[in-house]
Amino acid sequence: MEQCLVVGKIWATKKREELESFSLLMLVPLNNKSKSKSDNFLVAVNTIHARVGEKVLVAFGSGARNAMGNQSLPIDAAVVGIVDPEVEN
């Protein structure tokens, strides 16, 4: 899993039908100093109503599909937690 900052939202009408009703977030993976560790955006399914500006936990692969309760979804990343502000380091 990785800690990421939610920086935006993304919408798609033409998509795999399994993705209907999913909310997708744009995120940036963070290093241990809370700076970006990737030059590219990560897109993940929002399972817990995370909002832009929040630091979140993202699970990848099967773990992400487990968060949706369905291993047949074509997704490989899901937001599974919102990091508590007071334990940020």
Binding site: G8, K14, K15, R16, L19, G53, I75, D76
Partner: protein
Amino acid sequence: MFVGKVIGSVWATKKRPELEGLKFLVVKPLNLNAEPGSDVVVVADRIGAGVGENVICSYGKAGRIAVDDEKMPIEAAVIAIVDKFEIDKKYIDGIVKKDLSPAKGKK
């Protein structure tokens, strides 16, 4: 998943028979300036994305699910064509190291 801009297609005549009929796109993931970056990824596409469109792609098993065949010898595929995205630039400015985001000399 990642979001990227489709910049072209790739064709291969000599290939694994499973790949027959599958379309391959060349995609450049968007960097934190929301522009196509220097990376390039080849993805399978069953959705019908075209050059110039932004797409969301999955890796690994999710990519194989996206082409409806988990036995496919691929590991990246388009799952959606982007209508729009909204980025809050102030959050990106807060986490990007200054030296890694030089001001781009754009026209």
